[in-house]
Amino acid sequence: MLEAWEFIVRRPELLAEWVLAHLWIIFVAVIIAVFLGAFLGIFITGKGREQIADTTLYLAEIVMTIPSLALFGLLMLLLGSIGLKSIGFLPAVIALIVYGQLPILRNTYTAIRAVDPAMVEAGRGMGMTERQILFKIELPLAVPVIMAGIRTSIVLLIGIATIAAFIGASGLGVPIFRGIRNARMDLILIGGISVSVLALLVDGLMSLVERRITPKGLKVGRQ
């Protein structure tokens, strides 16, 4: 423990570099995962797409069961075989996007499906087009649940991103792997504790964001 502290004091720039690299990979992955997941989630709620929805959600669940170490390895080989950069940032981001899909996709789908049909009928009955129903009624009402999905996804990815070090990406996985290889307790502690602290911080931040963008009318109630 003391050694870990001494290391941080001695080489703060190294820790900062790992943390920033870690956050950067997650940031890029999450942004893409959110758009992809939300878009897919909205798409599969469409009329007559129940079959597609079931299949998509099932696939997303299967992906979650693949061990992350194996997925990183698989991507490395796959990207290499099609001539793309097979180690480092790119495969790491792709793997995280894939892993981050399920919570976002499932929550978007569930939240939109859960919107009171009376609400949708009222909108349609007043002359809203299907697009207006989606953007003016369904999505605003689904925001809290979609946000919860994004939050789950981010916390999940912060942990998984450590394994990205295995395929040569930077981040807090680097000190952990280095610590394991060289039997350096201090490095393992630095990596592990930083990941936990990061996850807690980001989770707290996201809960603030979540509360902020939840429509006010959904938060108030008669006492």
């Binding site: 009171d116 009376a118 609400m119 009928e121 009222a122 909108g123 349609r124 009955g125 007043m126 002359g127 809203m128 087009t129 207006q132 003016k136 009624i137 605003p140 009402l141 429509p215 006010k216 009318g217 959904l218 108030v220 109630g221 008669r222």
Partner: protein, 374 residues
């Protein structure tokens, strides 16, 4: 205004929900679709604004076939209020009411003005409610906002699907009466779906009674009550149709208009002598501008000092009824308050007359007789 021609709806599973429906709703009329559940009343209504596509037949709105109009465009010109109210919880009361005006592209100030006007109409203070959210309102208030929203862009036609269905009975009666008052002002063409015969009789200018997707009888409430076309109608109307007729009469049609009153400034002793001379034991009291102030009885006066004025001895907390109230509400009030004569007030709380049991009985008897001989 709205004309249905051989309107038929067959669902994919072969159910004939509506079967060759023919009738017309006149401009400014409130037409109630009445019938047991599954009779096709809601389906018929939803074919008017094309929420449910028609299988065969035609619906004309102002002479235009409704399938020739763009569906969204059509719906923006037909107000729509539903049982679950369907207020959008993420929008304020004002934004909810402005829904259709926004869709129609009204300017911001125009929309706001309209929302305030409509809140006034449904008797909710705009400054207090316009920025509230639906979750902060009571059931009755939400229902009022639902009605205001349906009137948002001032559509000539309103479709209302059991609009007061989710409200407790006491508030429902009040909302119905209020809505009738509003309708007197706005004169919209309204389709009003209900399965409640009392509501139908109270609200409707005409009632379309349906069964198994067919129109059984299309008549005024009085004709439906007193001249049922067949056994189904008779059964649906019920054996107590004379009592239901109470709903058809307004207090103003039955009350005694001219009546002795006392003034608050009068000497109690003088009033007592007048009451004794005319053989009356309860007298309504009015203030100097004719507003109802209370009632005074001979015993009230007897038990007070000789020098007292009427206002010192009168009973202020007397029940009253509005001239436009439905007769059964007034009767119910008389029964529950134990009053033999009920003071009736008009606009501005001015005394308009009194209502007695004798007058009610006579009016009902007349109605049944007239219905039976028509």
């Amino acid at each position: 205004m709205i004309k249905l021609e051989k309107v038929t709806k067959v669902y994919a599973d072969g159910t004939r929900a509506v079967n060759g429906m023919n009738f017309e709703v006149e401009q400014g009329e409130l037409c109630v679709f009445l019938g047991p559940s599954g009779c096709g009343k809601t389906t018929t209504m939803k074919m008017i604004n094309r929420l449910i596509p028609i299988t065969s037949g035609n619906i004309y709105i102002d002479g235009v076939d409704n399938t020739k109009i763009n569906a969204s465009e059509l719906r923006r010109n037909i107000g729509y209020a539903i049982q679950e109210i369907g207020l959008f919880p993420h929008l304020t009361v004002g934004q909810n009411i402005e829904t259709v005006p926004v869709l129609k592209g009204w300017s911001k100030s125009q929309r706001r003005e309209r929302a305030e006007e409509l809140l006034e109409l449904v008797r909710m203070k705009p400054s207090e409610f316009i920025d509230k959210y639906p979750n902060e309102l009571s059931g009755g208030q939400r229902q009022r906002v639902g009605v205001a929203r349906a009137l948002g862009a001032d559509p000539p036609i309103l479709l209302m699907d059991e609009p007061f269905g989710a409200i407790d009975p006491i508030n429902r009666v009040e909302l119905q009466s209020e809505f009738l008052k509003i309708q007197q002002k706005i004169k919209k063409t309204i389709i009003f779906v209900t399965h409640d015969i009392y509501e139908a009789i109270k609200m409707g200018d005409r009632i379309a009674l349906m069964k198994d997707g067919k129109l059984v009888q299309y008549d005024t409430p009085a004709d439906l009550l007193y001249q049922p076309k067949d056994e189904f109608v008779e059964g649906f109307v019920g054996a107590d149709r004379a009592l239901k007729g109470l709903q058809l009469l307004r207090v103003k049609e039955v009350m005694t208009g001219t009546y002795t009153t006392a003034n608050i400034e009068e000497k109690a002793e003088v009033v007592r002598k007048r009451m004794e001379a005319e053989g009356i034991d309860l007298l309504p009291v009015v203030d100097n501008s004719g507003r109802f102030a209370g009632s005074v009885s001979i015993s009230d006066i007897m038990s007070s000092s000789r020098a007292a004025n009427v206002k010192d001895v009168m009973n202020q907390s007397e029940a009253t009824s509005d001239v436009n109230a439905v007769l059964n509400e007034a009767l119910s009030l008389m029964l529950s308050s134990g009053l033999k004569t009920l003071p009736i007030v008009g606009e501005d709380n001015r005394l308009a007359g009194i209502l007695t049991f004798d007058a009610i009985q006579e009016a009902l008897h007349e109605a049944v007789k007239a219905g039976g001989t028509k």
